[in-house]
């Protein structure tokens, strides 16, 4: 079995997590639409959509890390984490830039707040993911030494 591919248990777990996260995304978007139709606007468009998508991506990322389904057996941990950090940093930057661009030309404080909020949520999710990975690595090392 090739060790640079996910093993069968990881694949099954990722599929499970992916399906559940997709369902969560759909439900949250529908709830957001319902709230909008009832007159409750919790956040400006498109920040609300970005935030929902970001939260779901975060849920997927954190659950994958928790279940050890984030990196294939043969992948080097350091390389995986560095790549992940790089991708998430780029994503945060892209989200912030796009969100700011969608604001009006004389951008108000509110629309700037949307970009900052998304950046903060991205950073929070990233931090939680890194902490979970570090804790799991320590637990793994302890279990290996038993």
């Amino acid at each position: 079995m090739r060790s640079n591919q996910f093993d069968e248990m990881q694949t099954r777990k990722r599929n499970e997590i992916g399906n559940q996260t997709f369902s969560l995304l759909v439900i949250l978007l529908m709830l957001d639409t319902l709230a909008y139709n009832l007159g409750f606007r919790w956040m400006k468009y498109p920040t609300n959509v970005f935030l929902i998508v970001l939260v779901c991506c975060g849920v997927y990322f954190i659950r994958s890390v928790l279940h050890g389904a984030f990196a294939a057996p043969g992948q080097k941990r350091g390389k995986t984490i560095s790549m992940t950090l790089g991708i998430m940093a780029l994503s945060m930057a892209a989200v912030t830039i796009v969100s700011s661009l969608f604001g009006r030309s004389g951008s108000t404080e509110k629309s700037q707040g949307g970009g900052l909020l998304l950046a903060a949520v991205s950073g929070g999710i990233l931090l939680v993911g890194v902490v979970i990975q570090v804790v799991k690595n320590r637990k793994e090392r302890r279990e290996e030494n038993k």
């Binding site: 093993d7 069968e8 248990m9």
Partner: protein, 81 residues
């Protein structure tokens, strides 16, 4: 999927035979996982009965440990005991 659940489809118990076959070779879970090409968590889950491996993985584990499928993964029927 290898039939490692009982006839009622209940969650299987721990796979102690796998654990002892691994211990006989003085291998850790990590050693076996690396030899087979899976994660340590997968081997741990199989040993604890938390995961039902496919026939492909079962044969890979048996080949690595030098034992047969029956020796590691076949459950005795209750009326055979």
């Amino acid at each position: 999927m290898v039939a490692v659940t009982d006839s009622g489809g209940e969650r299987m118990g721990k796979n102690l035979r796998l654990k002892s076959a691994r211990a006989a070779k003085d291998w850790s879970q990590k050693d076996l996982a690396e030899a087979v090409g899976v994660t340590r968590q997968t081997i741990n889950a199989i040993e604890n009965g938390d995961y039902n491996p496919t026939i492909k993985l079962c044969t890979a584990i048996c080949r690595t440990l030098g034992v047969t499928l029956n020796q590691l993964f076949w459950e005795d029927e209750p009326n055979e005991e």
